[in-house]
Protein backbone atom coordinates (compact mmCIF):
# COMPACT_ATOMS: atom_id res chain seq x y z
CA UNK A 1 0.00 0.00 0.00
CA UNK A 2 2.75 2.42 0.90
CA UNK A 3 4.56 1.80 -2.37
CA UNK A 4 1.87 3.26 -4.60
CA UNK A 5 2.34 6.93 -3.76
CA UNK A 6 6.09 6.60 -4.27
CA UNK A 7 5.66 4.86 -7.60
CA UNK A 8 3.19 7.49 -8.69
CA UNK A 9 5.48 10.26 -7.59
CA UNK A 10 8.30 8.67 -9.53
CA UNK A 11 6.11 8.40 -12.60
CA UNK A 12 5.12 12.03 -12.36
CA UNK A 13 8.72 13.08 -11.99
CA UNK A 14 9.68 10.99 -14.99
CA UNK A 15 6.82 12.45 -16.99
CA UNK A 16 7.77 15.94 -16.02
CA UNK A 17 11.38 15.29 -16.95
CA UNK A 18 10.35 13.85 -20.31
CA UNK A 19 8.07 16.81 -20.92
CA UNK A 20 10.83 19.22 -20.03
CA UNK A 21 13.25 17.46 -22.36
CA UNK A 22 10.78 17.17 -25.24
CA UNK A 23 9.66 20.77 -25.02
CA UNK A 24 13.06 22.38 -24.65
CA UNK A 25 13.79 25.20 -27.08
CA UNK A 26 16.31 24.04 -29.66
CA UNK A 27 18.28 26.96 -31.05
CA UNK A 28 20.98 26.58 -33.65
CA UNK A 29 24.55 25.90 -32.63
CA UNK A 30 26.29 29.08 -31.51
CA UNK A 31 28.59 28.99 -34.55
CA UNK A 32 25.89 28.10 -37.09
CA UNK A 33 26.27 31.32 -39.03
CA UNK A 34 29.99 31.75 -38.51
CA UNK A 35 31.63 32.84 -41.72
CA UNK A 36 28.40 33.98 -43.38
CA UNK A 37 28.41 37.58 -44.49
CA UNK A 38 25.01 39.28 -44.76
CA UNK A 39 24.22 41.09 -47.99
CA UNK A 40 21.46 43.63 -47.39
CA UNK A 41 20.57 43.98 -51.05
CA UNK A 42 20.00 40.25 -51.42
CA UNK A 43 18.20 40.35 -48.07
CA UNK A 44 15.64 42.80 -49.47
CA UNK A 45 14.49 40.06 -51.85
CA UNK A 46 14.37 37.49 -49.05
CA UNK A 47 12.30 40.00 -47.09
CA UNK A 48 9.90 40.40 -50.02
CA UNK A 49 9.63 36.66 -50.64
CA UNK A 50 9.06 36.03 -46.94
CA UNK A 51 6.28 38.60 -46.80
CA UNK A 52 7.60 40.06 -43.54
CA UNK A 53 6.11 43.51 -44.13
CA UNK A 54 2.57 42.18 -44.51
CA UNK A 55 2.38 41.42 -40.80
CA UNK A 56 5.04 43.61 -39.19
CA UNK A 57 4.14 47.03 -40.56
CA UNK A 58 1.80 49.09 -38.41
CA UNK A 59 -1.94 48.56 -38.94
CA UNK A 60 -3.05 50.40 -42.07
CA UNK A 61 0.48 51.20 -43.19
CA UNK A 62 0.72 51.38 -46.96
CA UNK A 63 3.30 50.75 -49.60
CA UNK A 64 5.32 48.15 -47.80
CA UNK A 65 6.52 46.27 -50.84
CA UNK A 66 7.36 49.39 -52.81
CA UNK A 67 9.54 50.48 -49.98
CA UNK A 68 10.95 47.03 -49.52
CA UNK A 69 12.51 47.19 -52.94
CA UNK A 70 13.55 50.81 -52.68
CA UNK A 71 17.11 49.79 -52.00
CA UNK A 72 17.50 47.02 -54.51
CA UNK A 73 19.67 47.44 -57.52
CA UNK A 74 16.59 46.98 -59.65
CA UNK A 75 15.02 50.09 -58.18
CA UNK A 76 17.91 52.51 -58.21
CA UNK A 77 21.45 52.95 -57.09
CA UNK A 78 20.72 54.78 -53.88
CA UNK A 79 22.05 53.10 -50.74
CA UNK A 80 19.54 51.31 -48.56
CA UNK A 81 19.84 53.51 -45.53
CA UNK A 82 16.83 54.38 -43.42
CA UNK A 83 14.42 53.91 -46.28
CA UNK A 84 12.02 51.06 -46.63
CA UNK A 85 9.17 49.84 -44.49
CA UNK A 86 8.83 50.73 -40.83
CA UNK A 87 8.37 47.44 -39.01
CA UNK A 88 6.67 48.98 -36.00
CA UNK A 89 4.33 46.03 -35.50
CA UNK A 90 0.96 46.22 -33.79
CA UNK A 91 -1.30 44.40 -36.24
CA UNK A 92 -3.70 42.20 -34.29
CA UNK A 93 -4.49 38.63 -35.34
CA UNK A 94 -7.60 37.39 -33.59
CA UNK A 95 -7.69 33.59 -33.42
CA UNK A 96 -9.55 30.92 -31.52
CA UNK A 97 -6.50 30.62 -29.26
CA UNK A 98 -6.33 34.31 -28.45
CA UNK A 99 -5.23 37.54 -30.06
CA UNK A 100 -1.66 37.81 -31.27
CA UNK A 101 0.03 41.15 -31.89
CA UNK A 102 2.81 41.31 -34.47
CA UNK A 103 5.82 42.64 -32.59
CA UNK A 104 7.95 45.64 -33.39
CA UNK A 105 10.93 44.23 -35.31
CA UNK A 106 12.31 47.59 -36.35
CA UNK A 107 15.92 48.50 -35.68
CA UNK A 108 15.06 50.42 -32.51
CA UNK A 109 17.27 48.99 -29.73
CA UNK A 110 14.56 49.39 -27.07
CA UNK A 111 11.21 48.73 -28.72
CA UNK A 112 12.51 46.72 -31.65
CA UNK A 113 15.31 44.23 -32.24
CA UNK A 114 18.14 46.65 -32.92
CA UNK A 115 20.28 45.36 -30.07
CA UNK A 116 19.87 41.66 -30.88
CA UNK A 117 22.85 39.76 -32.22
CA UNK A 118 22.70 38.15 -35.66
CA UNK A 119 22.38 34.65 -34.25
CA UNK A 120 19.56 35.78 -31.96
CA UNK A 121 17.57 37.04 -34.94
CA UNK A 122 18.39 33.93 -36.97
CA UNK A 123 17.19 31.72 -34.11
CA UNK A 124 13.97 33.69 -33.84
CA UNK A 125 13.27 33.42 -37.57
CA UNK A 126 14.31 29.82 -38.19
CA UNK A 127 13.80 28.09 -34.84
CA UNK A 128 11.05 30.16 -33.22
CA UNK A 129 13.22 30.76 -30.16
CA UNK A 130 13.57 34.16 -28.49
CA UNK A 131 16.85 35.55 -27.16
CA UNK A 132 15.56 34.61 -23.69
CA UNK A 133 15.15 31.02 -24.86
CA UNK A 134 11.35 31.03 -25.02
CA UNK A 135 9.23 29.51 -27.77
CA UNK A 136 7.40 31.86 -30.09
CA UNK A 137 3.82 31.14 -31.07
CA UNK A 138 3.63 29.69 -34.57
CA UNK A 139 1.53 32.62 -35.82
CA UNK A 140 5.08 33.62 -36.72
CA UNK A 141 5.85 31.20 -39.58
CA UNK A 142 9.25 30.06 -38.35
CA UNK A 143 8.16 26.53 -39.21
CA UNK A 144 8.50 27.67 -42.82
CA UNK A 145 11.56 29.90 -42.50
CA UNK A 146 13.41 27.05 -40.79
CA UNK A 147 13.72 25.44 -44.23
CA UNK A 148 15.50 28.44 -45.72
CA UNK A 149 19.22 28.51 -46.40
CA UNK A 150 20.99 30.22 -43.51
CA UNK A 151 22.80 32.40 -46.04
CA UNK A 152 19.42 33.85 -47.07
CA UNK A 153 18.44 34.47 -43.46
CA UNK A 154 21.74 36.18 -42.70
CA UNK A 155 21.12 38.39 -45.74
CA UNK A 156 17.65 39.12 -44.37
CA UNK A 157 19.15 40.14 -41.03
CA UNK A 158 21.53 42.50 -42.81
CA UNK A 159 18.56 44.05 -44.62
CA UNK A 160 16.47 44.38 -41.45
CA UNK A 161 19.32 46.34 -39.88
CA UNK A 162 19.04 48.97 -42.62
CA UNK A 163 15.36 49.67 -41.92
CA UNK A 164 14.15 52.61 -39.84
CA UNK A 165 13.68 52.45 -36.09
CA UNK A 166 10.24 52.83 -34.53
CA UNK A 167 9.63 53.30 -30.84
CA UNK A 168 6.13 51.86 -30.93
CA UNK A 169 5.31 49.64 -27.95
CA UNK A 170 3.17 46.69 -29.03
CA UNK A 171 0.78 45.08 -26.53
CA UNK A 172 1.63 41.55 -25.36
CA UNK A 173 -0.28 38.65 -26.90
CA UNK A 174 -3.68 38.19 -25.30
CA UNK A 175 -3.70 34.42 -24.98
CA UNK A 176 -5.60 32.57 -22.26
CA UNK A 177 -4.65 29.47 -20.29
CA UNK A 178 -3.50 26.88 -21.29
CA UNK A 179 -2.11 28.44 -24.46
CA UNK A 180 -0.35 31.05 -22.36
CA UNK A 181 2.15 28.37 -21.32
CA UNK A 182 4.74 28.69 -24.04
CA UNK A 183 6.78 25.69 -22.96
CA UNK A 184 4.17 23.37 -24.45
CA UNK A 185 4.91 24.81 -27.88
CA UNK A 186 7.98 22.60 -27.92
CA UNK A 187 5.68 19.64 -28.48
CA UNK A 188 3.74 21.51 -31.13
CA UNK A 189 6.97 22.13 -32.97
CA UNK A 190 7.96 18.46 -32.77
CA UNK A 191 4.55 17.33 -33.96
CA UNK A 192 3.83 19.77 -36.76
CA UNK A 193 6.96 21.19 -38.31
CA UNK A 194 7.74 19.12 -41.41
CA UNK A 195 11.30 17.87 -41.34
CA UNK A 196 11.63 17.96 -45.12
CA UNK A 197 9.93 19.50 -48.13
CA UNK A 198 6.21 18.75 -48.21
CA UNK A 199 6.25 18.22 -51.97
CA UNK A 200 8.85 15.47 -52.07
CA UNK A 201 10.53 13.86 -55.00
CA UNK A 202 12.51 15.01 -57.98
CA UNK A 203 11.37 18.32 -59.32
CA UNK A 204 12.74 20.23 -62.27
CA UNK A 205 15.28 22.86 -61.19
CA UNK A 206 12.63 25.51 -61.85
CA UNK A 207 9.95 23.79 -59.77
CA UNK A 208 12.51 23.12 -57.04
CA UNK A 209 13.26 26.83 -56.89
CA UNK A 210 9.52 27.43 -56.65
CA UNK A 211 9.32 24.90 -53.84
CA UNK A 212 12.06 26.71 -51.98
CA UNK A 213 10.26 30.02 -52.35
CA UNK A 214 6.85 28.60 -51.40
CA UNK A 215 7.82 26.23 -48.61
CA UNK A 216 10.79 28.09 -47.07
CA UNK A 217 9.85 31.75 -47.52
CA UNK A 218 6.49 32.76 -48.98
CA UNK A 219 4.56 30.43 -46.62
CA UNK A 220 1.66 29.85 -49.05
CA UNK A 221 0.65 26.79 -47.03
CA UNK A 222 -0.10 28.81 -43.90
CA UNK A 223 -3.33 30.02 -45.48
CA UNK A 224 -3.95 27.63 -48.36
CA UNK A 225 -3.57 24.37 -46.40
CA UNK A 226 -6.22 23.21 -43.90
CA UNK A 227 -5.33 22.83 -40.22
CA UNK A 228 -6.15 20.18 -37.66
CA UNK A 229 -7.70 20.89 -34.25
CA UNK A 230 -4.29 21.64 -32.78
CA UNK A 231 -3.50 24.15 -35.50
CA UNK A 232 -1.05 21.92 -37.35
CA UNK A 233 -1.11 21.92 -41.13
CA UNK A 234 -2.69 18.86 -42.75
CA UNK A 235 0.12 18.19 -45.20
CA UNK A 236 -1.85 15.42 -46.93
CA UNK A 237 -4.05 18.22 -48.26
CA UNK A 238 -1.19 20.59 -49.02
CA UNK A 239 -2.45 23.82 -50.62
CA UNK A 240 -5.85 22.18 -51.04
CA UNK A 241 -7.76 25.17 -49.71
CA UNK A 242 -8.86 26.03 -46.20
CA UNK A 243 -11.32 27.97 -44.15
CA UNK A 244 -10.89 31.71 -44.19
CA UNK A 245 -10.10 32.77 -40.62
CA UNK A 246 -10.96 36.37 -41.49
CA UNK A 247 -14.48 35.93 -42.74
CA UNK A 248 -16.80 34.12 -45.07
CA UNK A 249 -15.71 32.10 -48.05
CA UNK A 250 -12.76 29.76 -48.37
CA UNK A 251 -9.10 30.24 -49.15
CA UNK A 252 -8.91 28.57 -52.56
CA UNK A 253 -7.46 25.22 -53.51
CA UNK A 254 -4.39 26.11 -55.59
CA UNK A 255 -3.31 22.56 -56.43
CA UNK A 256 -3.89 21.31 -59.98
CA UNK A 257 -7.05 19.73 -58.54
CA UNK A 258 -8.56 23.12 -57.83
CA UNK A 259 -6.85 25.58 -60.12
CA UNK A 260 -6.87 25.07 -63.88
CA UNK A 261 -4.86 28.17 -64.72
CA UNK A 262 -1.84 27.79 -67.00
CA UNK A 263 1.63 28.44 -65.63
CA UNK A 264 1.61 31.73 -67.53
CA UNK A 265 -1.73 32.62 -65.91
CA UNK A 266 -0.32 31.95 -62.44
CA UNK A 267 2.86 33.90 -63.10
CA UNK A 268 0.86 36.85 -64.43
CA UNK A 269 -1.42 36.75 -61.39
CA UNK A 270 1.58 36.84 -59.06
CA UNK A 271 3.05 39.73 -61.05
CA UNK A 272 0.15 42.08 -61.70
CA UNK A 273 -2.68 40.56 -59.66
CA UNK A 274 -4.79 39.94 -62.76
CA UNK A 275 -6.74 36.71 -62.98
CA UNK A 276 -7.20 35.09 -66.41
CA UNK A 277 -10.48 37.04 -66.58
CA UNK A 278 -8.63 40.27 -65.77
CA UNK A 279 -10.31 40.61 -62.45
CA UNK A 280 -7.97 41.54 -59.60
CA UNK A 281 -6.66 39.85 -56.47
CA UNK A 282 -8.33 40.89 -53.26
CA UNK A 283 -7.83 40.67 -49.52
CA UNK A 284 -4.53 39.50 -48.13
CA UNK A 285 -3.55 38.10 -51.52
CA UNK A 286 -3.20 41.64 -52.86
CA UNK A 287 -0.46 42.21 -50.27
CA UNK A 288 1.17 38.91 -51.13
CA UNK A 289 1.32 39.98 -54.77
CA UNK A 290 2.77 43.33 -53.81
CA UNK A 291 5.58 41.43 -52.11
CA UNK A 292 6.08 38.82 -54.82
CA UNK A 293 6.04 41.38 -57.60
CA UNK A 294 9.34 42.66 -56.19
CA UNK A 295 11.02 39.35 -57.06
CA UNK A 296 12.64 38.60 -60.42
CA UNK A 297 10.26 37.24 -63.05
CA UNK A 298 12.05 33.86 -62.95
CA UNK A 299 11.00 33.43 -59.34
CA UNK A 300 7.32 33.93 -60.11
CA UNK A 301 7.66 31.53 -63.05
CA UNK A 302 9.26 29.09 -60.61
CA UNK A 303 6.34 29.41 -58.20
CA UNK A 304 3.97 28.69 -61.08
CA UNK A 305 5.99 25.60 -62.05
CA UNK A 306 5.92 24.44 -58.43
CA UNK A 307 2.14 24.83 -58.17
CA UNK A 308 1.81 22.58 -61.20
CA UNK A 309 4.02 19.98 -59.47
CA UNK A 310 2.00 19.93 -56.23
CA UNK A 311 -0.09 16.74 -55.85
CA UNK A 312 -3.66 17.56 -56.82
CA UNK A 313 -6.22 17.79 -54.02
CA UNK A 314 -9.75 17.07 -55.17
CA UNK A 315 -12.05 20.10 -55.12
CA UNK A 316 -14.58 20.21 -52.27
Amino acid sequence: MRRWPIALLLLICLGAAAFWWLTRPRPLAADAIAGLQGDAEAGALVFAAGGCASCHTAPGAEGSADDATAGTAAAEDSPIVQSGPVLAGGQAFATEFGTFYAPNISSDPEAGIGDWTDIQIVNAVTRGVSPEGQHYYPAFPYAVYGHADLEDIVDLVAYLRTLPAAQTEVPPHDVGFPFSLRRGLGLWKRAFIPTDWVVAGDLSPQAARGRYLAEALAHCGECHTPRNAAGGLVTAEWLGGAENPDGPGRIPNITPGGLDWSEADIAEYLTSGFTPEYDTAGGQMAEVIENLSALPQEDRDALAAYLKAVPPVAPD
Binding site: G184, W188, G232, E277, G282
Partner: protein, 166 residues
Protein backbone atom coordinates in the same frame (compact mmCIF):
# COMPACT_ATOMS: atom_id res chain seq x y z
CA UNK B 1 -1.60 14.02 -5.45
CA UNK B 2 -4.15 14.18 -8.22
CA UNK B 3 -4.15 17.91 -7.96
CA UNK B 4 -0.43 18.10 -8.38
CA UNK B 5 -0.54 15.67 -11.26
CA UNK B 6 -3.12 17.84 -12.93
CA UNK B 7 -0.93 20.86 -12.49
CA UNK B 8 2.05 19.06 -13.94
CA UNK B 9 0.03 17.79 -16.84
CA UNK B 10 -1.49 21.14 -17.71
CA UNK B 11 1.38 22.14 -19.99
CA UNK B 12 0.94 18.84 -21.83
CA UNK B 13 -2.65 19.62 -22.56
CA UNK B 14 -1.61 23.08 -23.56
CA UNK B 15 0.96 21.68 -25.89
CA UNK B 16 -1.45 19.31 -27.48
CA UNK B 17 -3.74 22.06 -28.56
CA UNK B 18 -1.58 25.11 -29.01
CA UNK B 19 -1.78 26.27 -32.54
CA UNK B 20 -0.83 28.73 -35.15
CA UNK B 21 -3.21 30.94 -36.83
CA UNK B 22 -2.11 33.07 -39.65
CA UNK B 23 -3.12 35.78 -41.89
CA UNK B 24 -5.56 34.80 -44.52
CA UNK B 25 -5.85 35.15 -48.19
CA UNK B 26 -8.88 35.83 -50.18
CA UNK B 27 -8.78 35.74 -53.90
CA UNK B 28 -11.43 37.41 -55.88
CA UNK B 29 -11.82 35.46 -59.08
CA UNK B 30 -15.20 36.59 -60.13
CA UNK B 31 -15.78 37.89 -63.60
CA UNK B 32 -17.41 41.19 -64.42
CA UNK B 33 -20.82 41.72 -62.95
CA UNK B 34 -23.65 40.51 -65.12
CA UNK B 35 -25.42 43.40 -66.68
CA UNK B 36 -29.10 43.06 -66.10
CA UNK B 37 -31.85 44.43 -68.26
CA UNK B 38 -33.42 46.45 -65.50
CA UNK B 39 -30.25 48.18 -64.34
CA UNK B 40 -30.26 51.98 -64.38
CA UNK B 41 -28.46 53.21 -67.52
CA UNK B 42 -25.62 54.71 -65.47
CA UNK B 43 -24.93 51.35 -63.81
CA UNK B 44 -25.03 49.53 -67.15
CA UNK B 45 -22.71 52.16 -68.64
CA UNK B 46 -20.11 51.91 -65.89
CA UNK B 47 -20.17 48.11 -66.09
CA UNK B 48 -19.62 48.23 -69.85
CA UNK B 49 -16.81 50.66 -69.15
CA UNK B 50 -15.18 47.95 -67.03
CA UNK B 51 -15.65 45.47 -69.88
CA UNK B 52 -13.72 47.82 -72.15
CA UNK B 53 -10.84 47.88 -69.68
CA UNK B 54 -10.96 44.08 -69.60
CA UNK B 55 -10.96 43.77 -73.39
CA UNK B 56 -7.83 45.89 -73.72
CA UNK B 57 -6.14 44.27 -70.74
CA UNK B 58 -6.71 40.85 -72.26
CA UNK B 59 -4.64 41.85 -75.27
CA UNK B 60 -1.79 43.20 -73.15
CA UNK B 61 -2.00 40.29 -70.71
CA UNK B 62 -2.02 37.78 -73.56
CA UNK B 63 1.22 39.28 -74.84
CA UNK B 64 2.73 39.37 -71.35
CA UNK B 65 1.95 35.68 -70.95
CA UNK B 66 3.21 34.78 -74.41
CA UNK B 67 -0.19 33.61 -75.58
CA UNK B 68 -0.48 36.37 -78.16
CA UNK B 69 2.45 37.37 -80.36
CA UNK B 70 3.89 40.69 -79.29
CA UNK B 71 2.88 43.53 -81.58
CA UNK B 72 4.22 46.97 -80.72
CA UNK B 73 1.37 48.90 -82.35
CA UNK B 74 -1.36 46.75 -80.84
CA UNK B 75 0.20 46.98 -77.38
CA UNK B 76 0.58 50.74 -77.61
CA UNK B 77 -2.98 51.05 -78.84
CA UNK B 78 -4.41 48.95 -76.02
CA UNK B 79 -2.50 50.86 -73.37
CA UNK B 80 -3.65 54.12 -74.93
CA UNK B 81 -7.24 52.91 -74.89
CA UNK B 82 -7.03 52.15 -71.19
CA UNK B 83 -5.52 55.55 -70.50
CA UNK B 84 -8.24 57.24 -72.55
CA UNK B 85 -10.96 55.27 -70.80
CA UNK B 86 -9.56 56.24 -67.41
CA UNK B 87 -9.62 59.88 -68.42
CA UNK B 88 -13.26 59.95 -69.50
CA UNK B 89 -15.48 62.14 -67.39
CA UNK B 90 -17.33 59.76 -65.11
CA UNK B 91 -19.55 62.22 -63.30
CA UNK B 92 -22.65 60.74 -64.91
CA UNK B 93 -21.76 57.18 -63.84
CA UNK B 94 -22.44 57.57 -60.15
CA UNK B 95 -25.92 58.93 -59.44
CA UNK B 96 -27.15 58.68 -55.86
CA UNK B 97 -29.09 55.53 -55.13
CA UNK B 98 -26.99 53.16 -57.25
CA UNK B 99 -24.75 51.57 -54.61
CA UNK B 100 -24.75 47.91 -53.62
CA UNK B 101 -26.85 48.91 -50.61
CA UNK B 102 -29.48 50.44 -52.86
CA UNK B 103 -29.94 48.04 -55.76
CA UNK B 104 -29.23 44.50 -56.92
CA UNK B 105 -26.75 43.85 -59.69
CA UNK B 106 -23.95 46.18 -58.64
CA UNK B 107 -20.88 45.69 -56.49
CA UNK B 108 -20.27 49.43 -56.11
CA UNK B 109 -19.91 50.02 -52.37
CA UNK B 110 -21.50 53.07 -50.72
CA UNK B 111 -17.95 54.07 -49.75
CA UNK B 112 -17.56 55.44 -53.29
CA UNK B 113 -20.03 58.21 -52.56
CA UNK B 114 -18.48 58.89 -49.16
CA UNK B 115 -14.95 59.23 -50.55
CA UNK B 116 -15.46 60.41 -54.10
CA UNK B 117 -12.11 62.23 -54.15
CA UNK B 118 -10.15 59.17 -53.06
CA UNK B 119 -12.14 57.01 -55.47
CA UNK B 120 -11.26 59.37 -58.31
CA UNK B 121 -7.60 59.29 -57.28
CA UNK B 122 -7.54 55.54 -58.02
CA UNK B 123 -8.90 56.22 -61.50
CA UNK B 124 -6.27 58.92 -61.96
CA UNK B 125 -3.62 56.41 -60.88
CA UNK B 126 -4.87 54.04 -63.55
CA UNK B 127 -4.70 56.78 -66.17
CA UNK B 128 -1.15 57.50 -65.11
CA UNK B 129 -0.08 53.83 -65.17
CA UNK B 130 -1.71 53.26 -68.55
CA UNK B 131 -0.16 56.42 -70.01
CA UNK B 132 3.25 55.26 -68.81
CA UNK B 133 2.70 51.91 -70.50
CA UNK B 134 1.48 53.61 -73.68
CA UNK B 135 4.87 55.31 -73.85
CA UNK B 136 6.91 52.14 -73.33
CA UNK B 137 4.71 49.41 -74.81
CA UNK B 138 6.48 49.74 -78.17
CA UNK B 139 9.83 48.84 -76.60
CA UNK B 140 9.13 45.13 -76.35
CA UNK B 141 7.24 42.51 -74.46
CA UNK B 142 9.33 43.08 -71.33
CA UNK B 143 7.97 46.60 -71.12
CA UNK B 144 4.42 45.28 -71.42
CA UNK B 145 5.08 42.82 -68.59
CA UNK B 146 6.48 45.54 -66.38
CA UNK B 147 3.64 47.92 -67.14
CA UNK B 148 0.94 45.43 -66.26
CA UNK B 149 2.07 45.57 -62.63
CA UNK B 150 1.28 49.24 -62.21
CA UNK B 151 -2.08 48.86 -63.92
CA UNK B 152 -2.96 45.85 -61.81
CA UNK B 153 -2.08 47.67 -58.64
CA UNK B 154 -4.34 50.61 -59.39
CA UNK B 155 -7.21 48.30 -60.38
CA UNK B 156 -6.78 46.11 -57.32
CA UNK B 157 -6.37 49.03 -54.95
CA UNK B 158 -9.67 50.49 -56.01
CA UNK B 159 -11.51 47.17 -55.98
CA UNK B 160 -10.21 46.50 -52.50
CA UNK B 161 -11.79 49.60 -51.03
CA UNK B 162 -14.79 50.22 -53.23
CA UNK B 163 -16.11 46.91 -54.53
CA UNK B 164 -18.12 44.25 -52.76
CA UNK B 165 -15.78 41.30 -52.29
CA UNK B 166 -16.95 37.78 -52.78
Amino acid sequence: MTHRAARLCAPLFAAAVTAAVTTSALIGTAGPAMAQDDLPPAVAARQHHMDLYGFNLALLGGMAKGEIDYDADAATGAAGNIAALAMLDQSGYWPEGTSSDDIEGTRALPAIWENMDDFQSHIDALAEAATALEETAGDGVEAVRAGMGGIGKSCGGCHEDYRVSR
